[in-house]
Amino acid sequence: MSEVNWKNPVIKWVDSRLPVFSMMHHSTAGYPTPKNLNYWWNFGSLALTVLVIMILTGVFLVMNYTPHTSMAFDSVERIMRDVNYGWLLRYLHMNGASMFFIVVYIHMFRGLYYGSYRAPREILWAVGLLIYLAMMATGFLGYVLPWGQMSFWGATVITNLFSAIPLVGDPIVTWLWGGFSVDNPTLNRFFSLHYLLPFVIAALVGVHLWALHTVKSSNPLGVEMKTEADSIPFHPYYTIKDLYGVGLFMIFFLAFVFWAPNFFGEPDNYIEANPMVTPAHIVPEWYYLPFYAILRAFTADAFIYLPFQLLFITPKLAGVIAMFGAIIILFFLPWLDRSPVRSAKFRPIYKQFFWLFFIDCLILGYVGAKPAEGILVVVGQWATLYYFAHILVIIPLLSKFEKTRPVPDSIASAVTKTAKTEEA
């Protein structure tokens, strides 16, 4: 780390006591970034942008929200109708949640394609997964707050899952509920936790960036930066590129907010929660659908249930284990993938399996959205099996046997060789 000689005496005075300015310089104008990053690398900064939007809109929404079962639904409608720009705050927050997951999923798939999780970025990847888990919890808690039909019944279904845990399952569920069903104590504590978790996410993002700055960014070629010729300073090159990306993103995001604000939502959530009436189809928010499909795939007669049956695990518990397992196994990717090559750019076979995996996730999402009937039951089971096969079998096998393409020596040599910009 090179020392900056600050000319301005005020800056110098502050910086010698608390190196804020040096830190800012070190992470921007003085931070080497690969010169060949493509637009798939914009999604990290987009995720941070959305986090800030969610916290800002959330704090202002809370100024008018009441977390009591008798008032929650009405307080949200008061925000929509009576609070100045309340409808805007609410729709920004509601659609921001969907945007957050769109951005983060693209960010994660970028990682899978380019081998961003490979050494020395294992911890960076792991912290990212922790952020993802925290996001899923936050989203679940937040969806309960408007106290619509889906809020209530989604909370009921998901909290009931914990009863699958042998021995302590039921006491745990009662403990979670604070009662004998999802009711006011549940709503209140979900509100408290929903306010808390985003700040946990913010802290994790800090750690995520710290880990990133330690090992520096990877790049589409998967070849580490070696010399000065490989890199450019983050500022101004990537600050402006990220700003441009934010502009494009805001156009996409606000198109939904202003013209299709309920596109990602469920009409049933505009009906006040009624513990006596279950909606015809309980569907979680779209970003949980693949996991919902995995959860439901494990029925007593499903072929994928067999190994669990042998271990005396109930279908319900099997579904829960598989659902969480689907995310847990991702932590082990850096050790499952031992290919000599990082980036799919030089892994022609892996590249095709990547896209198959992506399609499999879409299929799982579709299955999760539909009722568990007909051919979709079998489709869901096979798609679930394929998901685990991809991570646990295909990737390790490929990493051993795939014939990879020759990898360039350095970024600089690759960039000068080709005339056009590298395509993902």
């Binding site: 008018n64 009576d82 100045n84 705050l89 520096k216 000065e228 300073p233």
Partner: protein, 186 residues
């Protein structure tokens, strides 16, 4: 890892290139700042009184039940408002005090629309306590109006501050007579 010191002000075509980029930078920054300001406004405005709060901003008061010498307290915008049906003596005293040494100079006729009806906000202008004097048994201070027990401010029969730490007369809220027996405050 070597630090790259790529100079962001590298020429892109001589003087002309630099000034063009500087203008673009300036213009973009300006538009960006304007955009940020426009984006911040809804957040700030959302904290202003909402439509349902504004709808309750006025209260109607029926005066017919208030006898001479009686005072009632009603709530307006969350604050107490004293509505007093003044006696002849109180009105006379208030007018006489127009020429007394007043802490905040105001004539009685500036503070009432019909002289027998005094409508004032019952919040002491010192630090916000509610002055006593509405009930017949309350202390009314040395000037026959109201007395604030918190720090000893005395108000006269026109609600003017006469003695004590309060700096201003009791506020007269905006009100109008809808008819002889009803006023609308706010």
């Amino acid at each position: 890892m070597a630090e790259t010191a790529a100079n962001p002000t590298v020429e892109t075509g001589g003087e002309d290139g630099e000034t063009r980029r500087d203008f673009l930078l300036l213009a973009t920054s300006a538009v960006g700042v304007v955009g940020t300001g426009l984006a911040v406004w809804p957040f700030i405005d959302s904290m202003n009184p909402s439509a349902d709060v504004l709808a309750l901003a006025s209260t109607e008061v029926d005066l017919s039940a208030i006898e001479e010498g009686q005072s009632i307290t009603i709530t307006w915008r969350g604050k107490p408002v004293f509505v007093r049906h003044r006696t002849e003596d109180e009105i006379a005293q208030a007018k006489k005090d127009d020429s007394a040494t007043l802490i905040e100079v105001q004539k009685d006729e500036e503070r009432v629309q019909k002289e027998q009806w005094l409508v004032i906000v019952g919040v002491c202008t010192h630090l916000g306590c509610i002055p006593l004097g509405q009930k017949a048994t309350d202390p009314k201070g040395e000037f026959g109006g109201w007395f604030c027990p918190c720090h000893g401010s005395h108000y006269d029969t026109s609600g003017r501050i006469r003695k004590g730490p309060a700096p201003k007369n009791l506020e007269v809220p905006p009100y109008a007579f809808i008819d002889d027996e009803t006023i609308k405050i706010g």
